[in-house]
């Protein structure tokens, strides 16, 4: 059986042909490119170094159909997921397809385009940059998205334009008769001196099986600035394999923040590429998993030019038999002097059966840099629990408070108030379970 899997491509787990569906030339070209790659690249197995800890059964035991064959349920009222700060800057995609009636993009500043890719396929930025930022080698998932997407979100912020309201990209997944695949796509182009906050959210409304393979591309010109929050609240039966990538020109600032709460299998490969000197970026994350969830983050902070600051704090709480994997690479090229890069992965195991694998990696070819990394795996300290108990808190409450405190640091950096509050509620919900 393993021999069969090794020889398979992702297409073997998809029912039916992946036909190019893009209505524009630029999207169809990417579809064709993706299809060609998919036929060449084998589906990963545990024999591949980058996949050796991950169990892909939640993908391989299913056969996924396209959304139009899945018998998807109606989306219903989703207003509870709207952000008050983004009532007029929201794009909604249901099972990967753009839903205009649930979206609202009024009142954006002049020079800002927020809309779906299909309708903006002739925009110069779409033609120039769509599909050009992703660079995942020997990968099947980015090419799968390339091959299958026919729409997605497009954001273009013109020169010297600041978008005050956060832009909310809401990917909603409904219940369905059959497991389906979805390929959300997001292209962000920030021109010189532009600034925006992007909340990219993935929400599963039911407990069904689906395969969510999003690709997000951030093209950031000189002195552009973005805060990008990715909140993954997929169905606990879903698989989410994402490829978020940002390319930064001089003086660009990109701050990303990924929260993983849902999905049975979460594989995230954030990458930030320094394409000029003097950039600043973060690749932070918070993972709260329990049950049999697997959360695997493989990140790359790619310094190719001098004077870059980068920072990564990836915090993980593991309960039950959940399994977290972290592989964070910091690359510093030969001429990329004066790089200041810091990476930290902190794991808190609150059950005896949870698993953590962590592997921070530095590959530095320059000689005048300051790069450091660290990883810790710990359990709640008895002394800390006793301290709080001696103040009158029950053992359970003491443990909850300590887990909450561990996660809090990450949530506090969220700049949108309603998102911070929602995340705090999620953290409380998570920590209120039996944390022993």
């Amino acid at each position: 059986m393993s021999e069969v899997i090794q020889k398979s491509t992702l297409l073997d787990y998809i029912s039916g042909e992946i036909e190019p569906k893009g209505t524009s030339i630029s999207i169809r070209a990417i579809n064709e490119r993706g299809r060609a790659t998919l036929n060449e690249v084998a589906f990963p197995t545990r024999k591949d170094e980058d996949w050796r800890f991950i169990d892909l059964k939640s993908i391989t035991k299913n056969s996924f159909v396209s959304v139009d064959q899945a018998g998807t349920h109606e989306v219903g009222d989703i207003s509870e997921y709207y952000l008050p700060e983004a009532m007029n800057s929201r794009l909604v995609f249901v099972n990967g397809e753009y839903n205009e009636s649930l979206s609202s993009i009024d009142d954006l500043p002049h020079g800002v385009v927020v809309g779906n890719l299909a309708d903006n396929a002739d925009h110069d930025s779409v033609k120039s940059y769509l599909g050009t930022i992703t660079n995942y080698e020997d990968d099947v998932f980015a090419p799968f998205n390339d091959a299958a997407f026919n729409d997605g979100a497009f954001i273009h912020v013109a020169e010297e334009t600041v978008v005050e309201a956060p832009i909310h990209i809401l990917n909603i997944f409904t219940d369905a008769e059959k497991p389906f695949y979805a390929t959300p796509r997001l292209l962000y182009v920030g021109e010189m001196f532009s600034k925006a906050t992007i909340i990219e959210e993935h929400i599963g409304l039911a407990d069904n099986v689906y395969l969510n393979v999003p690709v997000t591309e951030f093209k950031m010109f000189t002195t552009s600035n973005v805060h990008h929050a990715r909140i993954q609240r997929d169905s606990k039966q879903a698989s989410h394999v994402s490829r978020p990538i940002a390319a930064l020109d001089k003086h660009a600032e990109y701050h990303s923040y990924t929260i993983c709460l849902g999905a049975k299998l979460f594989r995230n490969e954030p990458r930030v590429i320094q394409n000029a000197e003097e950039v600043d970026f973060t690749v932070d994350g918070l993972v709260l998993i329990d049950g049999e969830q697997i959360a695997d983050t493989h990140s790359i902070m790619d310094h190719r030019y001098a004077h870059g600051n980068s920072h990564q704090l990836h915090k993980v709480v593991v309960n039950d038999t959940a399994h977290s994997i972290f592989n964070g690479k910091i690359f510093v090229a030969k001429d990329a002097q004066k790089i200041d890069s810091f990476q930290e992965n902190r794991n808190l195991l609150i059950s005896d059966t949870g698993k953590v694998h962590t592997k921070p990696q530095l590959e530095i070819f320059a000689d005048d840099v300051r790069c450091s990394h660290g990883a810790t795996i710990g359990q709640l300290q008895d002394e800390e629990v006793f301290y709080l108990q001696s103040r009158g808190l029950t053992e359970q409450k003491s443990r909850e408070l300590l887990v909450y405190a561990f996660a809090l640091e990450s949530v506090e950096s969220m700049e949108v108030e309603s998102v911070e509050k929602m995340l705090l509620d999620e953290v409380i919900k998570y920590t209120n379970r039996d944390g022993k």
């Binding site: 301290y387 108990q389 001696s390 808190l393 909450y404």
Partner: protein, 257 residues
């Protein structure tokens, strides 16, 4: 208020007893000092009385206001009015002093069927206690003991004691690591909290704390037992002669009696 009878205890899972038959009676309104050399079992006694799960009581009992608390969890003892000021207070980044104390205060209030305080009421209440340790408002919003100096940590313990208003407090080497100014502030704080209805047990190496908080009773602990009790003069005697004389007096075949 507190009656400790023939208390024997060891670290859970290990063989060697640390407490080897401690007897102690503490009445309301009294201040006791337990002195003794390192390794005599003083801190263990405070942890066992507070219900630290690391220790196992192998014999004897602890009665608090007549109730046997020997098997109770630490939080249940705190609800009854027991408090331990830690020698090494734990740092908890992310949780503010105010958050912990409000949760603790209201948990204890609920357990005793007293009225809980809402955030605003609690704010007033907690601020009224800041003077006791001469701390500013911002102290309340800082994470518990995180980045605190040694002196601030000890002040924080006394501040928590003032807020939670326990009947009986164990102060485990509250004087260690304090400069003279901080020692005065901490001692003044304890004296302000002390009353006829409360009791305090101080654990200390040195007499200097006792110059600021006058104990009614002084006990000397050695090798897991209280070997001598007396008044303040016993502390003065120890300060003058050290523990050597007593160790010789009570050591028979290398074991204290």
């Amino acid at each position: 208020m507190l009656e400790i009878k023939n208390l024997h205890a060891k670290v859970e899972g290990e063989e060697i007893e640390i407490l080897k038959g401690v007897n102690l009676n503490v009445k309301a309104g009294e201040i006791h000092a337990i002195m003794g050399p390192n390794g005599s079992g003083k801190s263990t006694l405070s942890k066992v009385v507070s219900g630290h799960p690391e220790y196992e009581v192998t014999d004897g009992e602890i009665l608090f206001e007549g109730e046997d608390i020997t098997e109770m969890d630490a939080d249940e003892r705190a609800h009854l009015g027991l408090f331990l000021a830690f020698q090494y207070p734990v740092e908890v980044p992310g949780i503010t002093n105010k958050t912990l104390l409000r949760e603790a205060y209201n948990t204890i209030a609920r357990a005793n069927e007293r009225e809980e305080l809402d955030p605003l009421e609690f704010e007033d209440y907690i601020e009224s206690k800041l003077d006791i340790i001469e701390m500013k408002d911002e102290f309340l919003s800082r994470s518990i003991n995180t980045g605190f100096s040694g002196g601030e940590k000890k002040k924080n313990e006394i501040f928590q004691m003032a807020v939670l208003d326990p009947k009986l407090s164990f102060l485990d080497e509250t004087d260690s690591g304090l400069d003279i100014d901080a020692l005065k502030i901490v001692s003044d704080g304890v004296n302000k909290i002390a009353s006829d209805e409360k009791a305090i047990v101080m654990i200390t190496h040195y007499q200097r704390l006792l110059n600021y908080i006058k104990p009614d009773h002084v006990h000397v602990m050695m090798d897991g037992k209280i070997v001598k009790s007396g008044g303040f003069e016993l502390a003065e005697e120890l300060e003058a002669n050290g523990y050597d004389g007593l160790q010789k007096e009570f050591a028979v075949n290398g074991e204290a009696q």
